[in-house]
Assembly symmetry: C2
Homo-oligomer: 297 residues x 2
């Protein structure tokens, strides 16, 4: 998916929000905003939004000298999600279709994004809402067929905290004997995306091999990933891609990908023919959609 | 009120929204966004937001060649509001405190801002909500005292459509024999702000003298206004200033101003110690609040 004009003001808002986590000094925040605007002028929009977001967050890091603005928030998100683990794990065990329930739980967990100030009860409440309603886009049948025919499953993680719910899904998928599961994280901290440290903190490495994708984009921008990761990506029979960033960066890849996400912005909503708030289990379609440069996304 | 960093992404969003009213050509829209970003880099933030907005909208006009992107929308807003006039006028007549009711109606009418796609029933519904609840900030007693002691009242209009409800308030104020009322509009089209053409279209000139403020800012930026207007501003015993733009541009003027508005953005909300959606009848305080450059507004 290409970057849309609507993404540009959004990048500025993200820069301001992230800058404020690091500092309240108006001069530094102004420097960030000005530098981001300078970078955005004339920037080609053919790349997916996370590729441009990468340059935005690098600017913040370089101006503030803070390599991981979200580190405290991420830690809290992991702890909150771990606190919810026993209850949700129990719900999976007692559900009628454990795999579907775990899938919906992993999609619900995608609500833990930048909402740093969210209370625990809100996260729980929102996940419960996802669990109680049908998925808006639902390729579950195709998903079931695909896992039965796959040997190597590559699972692309998204955010800290959320990976606890990915872990519950992986525990379900592990029951399929012929399936080897590899879980991928970002190489370096970027927003609240999960890194190797987060994966180990929540113990996902006990259930799957965990690898880094070699990149600090908040997504899976293949041209930026390590050779090891890219080889695995192309070798995998099936890919689970969590969250908007992975959707934005892989929506045109001709692979057997299942996108699991909650829709959080109007641009992605429009690209998916969905609405903000919708829950998505979407198989990559055979036809790859080409962006229409002449219209609003 | 100074411009806050949060206003910068908002200006980009406004530019995109307004650009799209004029054209769907991606290249032109991109040119607008890039030019606006170029203008915003290093721009001093001491000026109120409408002063910077003025440069944003001038950029859109200059790139698209369209001097009045909102003309069709404004016409529709005037027609919709005129359609609601008889019903609301009747409600004023049958209300217990006609002046207070008309004030609340004028504040409720401030909902007609950029919501170009709003349906008639939504506008009516939102105004009825304002009428049924107490004002959040309420200096009505001071307002009553002030009109009793004033001879010249300058009424600063805001948006097309909304001025129909200003007209109803002016019809109430006209009953006070000693009060001369002058209604001011923008000199040139800017967003959906009311101009002389709009004032005449809705017939407000039948109830008050209507003058232009001589400026194309979406507010009352005194340094930009005509001498005739400025003289009147300083001579007036009392000023009614409608909407956020007039608040932003006059919040530090040492005059007997009553701000009537619905709060529509977090920056103005914070400056007023209020919330988005709040309804405000606020007397300019004796102490003029100086912006705090070190903190988020």
């Amino acid at each position: 998916m290409k970057t849309y004009l609507d993404c540009l003001p959004c990048f500025l808002n993200q820069a301001l929000k992230t800058g404020r986590i690091v500092t309240s000094e108006e001069k530094i925040l102004r420097k960030i905003i000005d530098q981001v605007m300078e970078n955005l002028i004339n920037i080609p929009l053919d790349a997916p939004p996370p590729k441009i977001a990468q340059t935005v967050y690098r600017t913040i890091k370089s101006i503030t000298g803070n390599e991981d603005p979200y580190s405290t928030i991420k830690r809290k998100q992991n702890e909150v999600a771990l606190g919810l683990y026993p209850e949700f794990k129990e719900m999976v065990i007692h559900s009628e279709d454990q795999l579907l329930f775990a899938l919906k739980l992993a999609i619900g967990g995608n609500i833990i994004d930048l909402g740093a100030q969210r209370e625990i009860k809100d996260i729980k409440k929102e996940i419960l809402q996802t669990l109680s309603a049908p998925l808006t886009i639902n390729d579950y049948k195709g998903f079931r067929r695909s896992i039965n025919n796959s040997k190597l499953l590559l699972y692309l993680g998204d955010n800290a905290g959320e990976i606890v719910f990915d872990s519950i899904l992986i525990e379900q998928l592990k029951k399929i004997d012929h399936l080897k599961i590899v879980f991928a994280v970002r190489e370096k901290p970027i927003i609240n995306d999960a890194t190797m440290e987060d994966a180990k903190f929540v113990g996902i490495d006990k259930h799957a091999e965990v690898i880094s994708n070699g990149s600090d984009a908040p997504a899976t921008v293949l041209s930026e990933c390590s050779t090891e990761f890219s080889d695995l990506f192309h070798k995998a029979d099936m890919i689970i891609a969590k969250g908007q960033g992975n959707y934005e960066s892989l929506s045109e890849e001709n692979k057997n990908i299942f996108f699991l996400l909650k829709v959080k912005c109007p641009v992605v909503a429009s690209h998916l023919n969905a609405k903000v708030g919708d829950t998505v289990l979407k198989r990559q379609s055979g036809e790859i959609r080409r962006p229409d440069h002449g219209s609003r996304c």
